[in-house]
Amino acid sequence: MNDTLTADSGVGRKTSPTRETKKAVALAEHIVEVISDSGEGAQRCGQSLAAIAARMGNGIWTTEIIPAEIQPPARSVAGASGIRIRMGSRRVTNGGDETDVVVAFNEQVLLGRVQAGELKQGCTILLESMWREHRDPKIVASYAKVVDALANDGYRVCEVPLERECLTLVSDPRRGKNMFVLGMLCNIYSLDLKLGHEQIGRIFGKKDEKVIKSNQQLLDAGWQWAERNLDFKYRIPATRSAEPQIVVNGNTAIALGVLASGMEICAMYPITPATSASHFLSDVFERVGGIVHQAEDEIAACAFAIGASYAGKCAVTISSGPGISLKQEAIGLAVMAEIPLVVVNVQRGGPSTGQPTKVEQGDLLQACFGSHGDAPKVVIAPSSIEDCFYSIITARKIAETFNMVVVVLSDASLATAQQPFPRPRFSEDWLAPPVDQSPVPEGAKPYDWDPVTGLIRRFVPGQPGGMHTLTGLAHDRLSHVAYDPANNEEGLRHRSLKLAALQKTLKTPPVFGDPEGDMLVVGWGSTKGAIEEAVERLRAEGRKVSSLHLQFIQPMPSGIREIMQRFRQVIVVEANWSDSLEDQIIDESNRRYSALAMILRARTLVDIDCWSEARGQPIKPGAICAVVRERMKHGGTQQ
């Protein structure tokens, strides 16, 4: 699928160890995977590779391969743990399609990746060969069988004596193989070994010099081994940005956003895949005077944040699907009482416990319509790592300006993906204003709704003259409990108007590609990179395809319908469930559309098609291309 961008896929050549100087083949991009049993350090190896490539100036995107269990059985197909790194000459916006080079610590985890269809046909496999001499004949047989089968299927299998080579340097190779592999990959991709040494210094910085030294030796040994034994070498030309870049994953970007937004309190409860944001915050927040409160449960975390926000310090609660479901009642309170609140939902596979470590965009509807009654809240979805950072600053601002709940919808894919972006330039405008303690003017009311915008000026405890009792019950402008029909409607109307007021400030999102054509692909959140890459490929084929990506989903900017009307077909692509018309009993009268498609159909009355996937994997640009080609074949005009 990367053919258009890849100069040389390296397929088909026979491995013959040689000492000749190898010429590095220049590539536009490559996808490399490192996979192992859990706990063998494949992720650290891959993250380091990505960091080194990023420092060289390459575009990168990392995708973690995480088994659901902490310690799944060793050598199991389902236990594959690792990371996939897409490196390119240009900026990389998504994980791409199939893998070009894979390093596997045993043949079973490798088999898992083959069966999942994640490896490119005929790709290069660097496989730990220790299993060939294992004392258990069953393992020896299994290993030989897999190697033969893969070679027969056309894969280029290079057996690497990782264990043996590492044993010459360290007593426990299980803890050192990953750095040996990192050295090999530095050699294969012509990366600067000096940067590798620095990276090891960074990882083990807290440990003593001996540990750093020993890992650097492993790195060098891996580099040397590859230099001596492999007959291929690549080079992905890089251009270092003239601007400083930061390399972090989406969850760290969210945590940095919390820091920069001026928020002071984050209340959370541990949940995968959101927790790493709170881990990072727990470590660094206190250095800027902030607090991460690990509450007793999700509800308490949300209520704690509401309490802090109410008292004048807008707070954030970070969670994932099941946790958000638990928070919904409290979110409703914040909506009713008009308390600002930032809710981050790092979405995972659902329903119920679902797929905790896997990506899904399954929570859009609960974000927009969750909680009981009419509970309007703002929903924004970052679509890149950089967006994860800035969306939190935006969210805090909107929350406090409009006294609303702002839901930020990230997902498991953004959470763990690393992508460099320009180092943010800190601005004091990002920070929250100090808590207002000025006296409230005589006669001012706590819910003095503006008739046009619905906005209120909130009174914060400590403000003389502003004393009132906030309530989740229906209330009048004085915050007195009021059940009469007119009052209830007045509250509903003004809380709803705030969304419209915000909507008036939003710009129509730009179309990627031509402003008119045959097919418009609409998406939101983490799929942006994959969709736009697909659009580029399809346009290169001469197809009139464009895309539109929504950051604000609630409220939705104006002009969306007008954009759609300039295309013959519109399709929403997202990572959640929708029915397939190919299923025997599914037809237009019962077809369940994907979440955004449902919202857009209702809002625009355009006959929007949808294609979605909820396999727990990031959607690949190749898959989008295939769908668009197929749907364009059936053509059809809308409406």
Binding site: A54, R55, R240, S241, A242, E243, P244, Q245, I246, V247, V248, T252, L259, A260, E264, I265, A267, E286, R287, V288, G289, G290, I291, H293, A295, E296, I299, A300, A301, C302, A303, F304, I306, G307, A308, Y310, A311, G312, K313, E329, A330, L333, P420, P424, F426, E428, L431, P434, V435, F459, P461, G462, Q463, G466, M467, T469, L470, T471, G472, V481
Partner: protein
């Protein structure tokens, strides 16, 4: 530790508050409801402590008890069922300068909010908690609560409740970091006032269970205690409550109890007849969560910027010299 700016207000003139400064709307509780006595007592405490109404915060959940903030003229937060504690904790964490009171009921605290209750004791944040315990759900019209006595006939237990009552005092005294536990009864307002006053003055999570009559649904529940003062055991101590001579004439069943003795406090907590009234436990040494967590530094924009830039430095890829020169050119 530095104080937040909001704590640094200088009082230019001495303020004196009267009861009216704390009296909000007209209570809508039933006549004879014990909640009225609780309201009167806490308003007196506010006046006698001369609390600034704008710095005083009553947080509640849902239920008859939780209507109380509406009848105060302070700031109030009438939230959702069972979640008064986490809301109050968030308020206290953000604003340690506020006086925080929590009003909750036996359903709100001991049933739907039980998880928060346990952890609120552990956090030991500086707040005064009034558990309005009338042994029954009132607002939803007579269902059994966790503190309902065994055999109580209610709308959800028409043939009598099957479970023994939960004892909020024992539960509270069983949790790590407990720092203040007392029990009051609405029919001895003088003692209730003294207890609430002591609870307010204790720095930490002051838990006061107030046994309170519900004239609508359990009108006869506490008759035996009302008719026989001997069924009430007053706890007194030089470090606890001092019982007035007048009161001692009626309530002669008294016992010296040192509130620092947690083992004895636990024994007293499990007494049902006579019913203990007074301060069961007090330990001013337990640290408050907000003190443990509050940053030592003032959050100036410069301070935030410095911390933020320091974090960015760790993950920044700087352009090499060549690129910088190119850019300059």
């Amino acid at each position: 530790m530095t104080m937040p700016a909001t704590q640094c207000l200088i009082r230019l003139h001495q303020e004196h508050h009267s009861l009216e400064d704390y009296q909000g709307g007209v209570p809508r509780w039933c006549s004879g409801c014990g909640d009225n006595a609780i309201l009167a007592a806490i308003q007196r405490v506010c006046r006698d402590e001369d609390l600034r109404p704008e710095k005083t915060m009553f947080v509640s959940g849902i239920g008859c008890s939780s209507r109380l903030p509406h009848y105060m003229k302070t700031y109030g937060f009438h939230g959702i069922h069972g979640r008064a504690f986490p809301v109050a904790e968030g308020i206290k964490m953000a604003r340690p300068d506020l006086h925080v009171f929590v009003n909750t009921g036996d359903g709100d605290c001991c049933s739907i909010g039980a998880a928060h209750w346990i952890h609120a004791i552990r956090y030991n944040m500086n707040m005064t908690v009034m558990l309005h315990d009338n042994h029954v759900y009132g607002l939803t019209k007579k269902q059994a609560s966790p503190t309902s006595p065994l055999g109580l006939k209610s709308n959800t237990t028409p043939r009598g409740s099957q479970l023994a009552a939960l004892n909020p005092l024992s539960v509270t005294l069983g949790v790590q970091n407990v720092s203040f536990v007392a029990q009051a009864v609405d029919w001895v307002p003088e003692v209730m006032y003294d207890i609430m006053s002591a609870a307010f003055r204790h720095r930490g999570f002051s838990f006061v269970r107030i046994i309170q009559r519900c004239p609508e649904f359990l009108p006869k529940m506490f008759e035996p205690w009302l008719h026989d003062p001997q069924k009430t055991l007053l706890l007194s101590h030089k470090d606890g409550l001092q019982i007035s001579a007048g009161l001692s004439k009626t309530y002669r069943n008294q016992q010296e109890h040192d509130p620092s003795n947690i083992d004895r406090a636990r024994e007293i907590a499990s007494l049902e007849d006579p019913l203990p009234v007074g301060i069961l436990y007090r330990n001013p040494q337990v640290p408050c969560y907000e003190d443990l967590r509050h940053p030592a530094q003032m959050r100036t924009p410069e301070f935030i910027r410095a911390g933020f830039e320091a974090e960015l430095d760790k993950v920044t890829v700087w352009p090499d010299q060549d690129a910088q020169t190119q850019r300059a050119a």
